[in-house]
Amino acid sequence: MPIHEKNLIRPENLSTHDNLVIDGVDVSGDWSTFIKTRVVADYNENLQEEIGSLPGAEYIHRCWQCGSCTNSCTVNAIEPDFNPRHWIYLIRMGFESELVRDKDLIWKCVSCNKCTYACPRDVVPEGVMKATAHWLELKGYLDRTPSTEFDEEFANQVIRTGKIEDGRVMMGFFKRTGQPLMQPWLIAFVKKMFAGLPLGWMMKMGFATVIHPRTKGWGPAHAAIAEYAKEQEEKHIAAVRGSHPEAAFHTAD
């Protein structure tokens, strides 16, 4: 499948003339549209280093821009502006402000690993997408995304108890994101599910959302993981915001 990337040229960077004569040659019509020349002055020379320091993006420097990631991408097929190749290019070039324009799209990666499967340089583009979404949040460009809320709700249950219970994760996620539990499609689904479920199992599942399933003797593992997770979080914040956290911190717009 060819990659259509004309959408990368933003309308504000196009210049169209009705009548245009250059060096005595009439170039009106199809030839009269030009991409404006520009000078980029606001590089972030450390952009690749900042994002590359977050887990998942360690190998971003290997990219040679072949486009296999975008070509194989699940999300790109339904949302053409979702373009991992382009974002990796922007990161490697230090074009921070251009990258930030796509902040509401980058977190939508579904982790299908098609890009990582296709990549000839083992860049792990899936990891780069996750790290970039994380970076956007750490820098303050982006409020916490629904994806982050879900990951945290899920991970917190695992770290605390060793296990998750899917009904509880769903309820916790809806609460965090302020969504009602009574959504028409969900009611329709639950009705279908309960139509065939044995009563005993329904009670057991309902019970599990109240009495949380737990891995026996999980205490020491919980303490060890929580301590490690905290260390890592502090490390990531320091790597992205540098030694003067306020200086590099932008407020979400």
Binding site: P55, G56, T74, V75, I78, E79, K108, V110, S111, C112, N113, K114, T116, Y117, G127, K130, H134, P146, S147, T148, E149, F150, D151, E152, F154, A155, V158, G162, K163, I164, E165, D166, M170, F173, F174, P184, W185, A188, F189, K192, M193, A195, G196, L197, P198, W201, M205, A208, P213, T215, K216, G217, P220, A221, A223, A224, I225, Y228, A229, Q232
Partner: protein, 309 residues
Amino acid sequence: MAEKKYQKVAYYPGCALEGSGHAYNKSTKAVGKALGLELEEVDNWNCCGAMEVKNIDPKIQTYLSSRVMSIAANEMKHDVVMAPCNGCYHNLKKAEYDLAHDEGSRQVVDRLSSKAGHETYQAGQIETIHALDWIKDGIGEEELAKRVKNSLKGLKIANYYGCMYTRPRHIFPEKDQGPGSESTSKPHYMDDLLAAAGAENVDFALKTACCGGAHTLSDADTSTKLVANILRAAEEAGAEVIATECPTCHTGLEMHQVRAETNFGIKTNVKVMYFTQLLGVALGLSPKKVGVHENASDGRAALKARQIA
């Protein structure tokens, strides 16, 4: 080819099989029993980290998966651990790969294991397999075909494997090894088993397409679009049933089949069943015994229409 080491294995059901994937757990155990394959559940197991914990920190996920393998290998002395969930299977394989290749992962797993008070898992101690491998390598299609009491009578099936069973390829070194081995681009183990049970597998292009499972709730519209594509492609290929081998895919297909209709008016009739449910019925177990009635997408009528059950 039946191999003895796959006939008695450690069993890691994972969290989903204790909740929404209950019917997969039930049917996997029932099929094992019917085929004489033994399962010993991993003692006091924990969540593998699914698709979420790696986004907080990938090495925590590696540790979580390594703990399960450590218990199965060091405490229960198993050589093989079987996970029916693609997420669990993928994460155990990924942990195995990282621990064999990455010193940083080894250090973190060692630190967390000693603080948690159990032996550190060392790469190579155990082999992780999927429920598909377990039946394919523990029994094989020939033997399975001999034990079929209730043929699937040409039931048209689209085999759906999802993402985590084949991608990325480097964590599955046993795949893509020529004839007989599983393929990461065109997986066929489920097709082979269901064909042995009498089903007709349709030519289905979206075998390893993504259902959007990672964002099934956090970006529900994207998931609905992806699932609607899969359901429509299966119907266009002539399938009556989509066979699944992952609880996340299965629930995703069921949930977004309903959501596609409620929110977007896209109606599809194809039914979704775990491959273990289909095999169980073929082995002569009642649909109830393998939990067909527990699926939101109720396949009982589809089986009845072909006079299978």
